[in-house]
Amino acid sequence: MGQITLNQVTKSFGDVNVIPPLDLEIKDGEFVVFVGPSGCGKSTLLRLIAGLEDMTSGHIAIDGKDATDVPPAKRGLAMVFQSYALYPHMSVRKNIAFPLKMAKMEQAEIDKRVDNAAKILNLADYIDRRPGQLSGGQRQRVAIGRAIVREPAAFLFDEPLSNLDAALRVNMRLEISELHKQLDTTMIYVTHDQVEAMTMADKIVVLRAGNIEQVGSPLELYRTPRNQFVAGFIGSPKMNFLTDAAAAEHGCKTIGIRPEHLDISRESGAWKGVVGVSEHLGSDTFFHVKVEGSKDPLTVRASGEVDLHRGETVFLTPQGEHLHKFDAQGLAIR
């Protein structure tokens, strides 16, 4: 079980209000990702759930029981920290066994569980080493091992992959997703990387300045962002926004169109522009096109290798069904 309910939760540090009243329901077995720019309060929210920070007001319930005043040790949650936070003076085995030892479990059961976790995470070869002798990826696995042996109600991940290099990050992303499928336990994952959010989550919670901007599945957020902030934050490269004449044409303040929903042509189209920087990734090509009447260049995604040069005049046409319209407050118009 791992159902978590936040009810009117707030948090202030002195006079600074980090989390205004917030409600959130996390279902058992869900993979929920908190995403948002740095300083949006996502880590604070996770630490409130963990019990490492005290709430200023509100209630939190875990599996229907009020946990507002329950200390972190008694909440039955396991956490994986950004810095891994391994115990440097203990071997991998002792690190993973620590929560079980704290739970006063029998040694035979501890050994069984630690060996099992080591097998799942491919740690058996390093079991007697100290954390200092491990690579970043291995340390991360030990931290996850320490979390899974307890069979917690939910896992909390605080930007666990941000210290790893790009290739390893992709690997670990898959491993964590795989682990979620295997264990079928609630996972709450904090990241500022929207690619991690999109690829891993069942449900994404987009935060800005402590406020929940939108909650939904990755594709819901991608297809129907509730406002301009979510539209700009989800998707990579980010959505293009146009105001003034181009928006007035559609009867709104701002229009948004994703780079993959713009058709590019040398001959004709809705907007005329000049090619600036192009980024060739092999599978895709991104063009930055300076369009008349728009402050920022528009990003266009073209499939495969497209041969367009800097300074060339091109025409862009938005795919009508993928056009997003926003009002003066930045809210989506449907």
């Binding site: 620590f98 929560p99 704290m102």
Partner: protein, 276 residues
Amino acid sequence: MARAVNTQRKAINTAAAWTVALLIFFPILWTILTSFKTEAQAISDPPVFFAFDWTLENYGVVLERSNYSRFLWNSIIIAGGSTILGILIAVPAAWSMAFVPSKRTKDILLWMLSTKMLPAVGVLYPIYLLFIKLGLLDSRTGLVIVLMLMNLPIIVWMLYTYFKEIPGEILEAARMDGASLKEEIVHILTPMAIPGIASTLLLNFILAWNEAFWTLNLTAAKAAPLTAFIASYSSPEGLFYAKLSAASTMAIAPILVLGWFSQKQLVSGLTFGAVK
């Protein structure tokens, strides 16, 4: 050219370092040398450095006249007891200051240190009266308490700087792993801070060992440590320089040996945090 200058500079620096070191060590060296002289040679003018008749006579007399082992034992109990008691109180105090600081934590630390700026004699009278009332005069228990209180600010400060270097996330991880506050301190914080705690133990043991004001004023015979043993040879009448030196040498020898073997730990402890 540059290399020649470098070598020359190195030689000068080395010579300067030795000069300063010898200057600092000279009183101790002179004490040790004097302890092997006769009383007449000890006060001879001009003084003799090495060309005297080396004798162990002073040590014989001192050992015969006083019960060295009793003073030594008292010193060990008082220095050791006050240090261990101090550590037991300072670890939780430093933990709370380092990991759950409040707005006033820095002020409290400074205030604690400021108590060290007061001359000890300023509180001699009240403490003396308290000791009479509590029957602690000339007792090892009394001295353990007083020396512990005197050194507590230093112990807390040292541990605080060590603890500050330990990432808070590790302690939070322990909390998430189900450790109680006590388990967190015993299983995680203390083992991680062992080098710092060892340096603190050593330094405070040395400070307590050498402490003379309280040990001389609050003891008579029963609880007197080695400082009192030395003082008993500094008589206003008669000339006992050689015997005084022999007693001093015997009093500092144990701590000198301890310091010598733990110098690496001590230096790393005292310069901790100076670089990064």
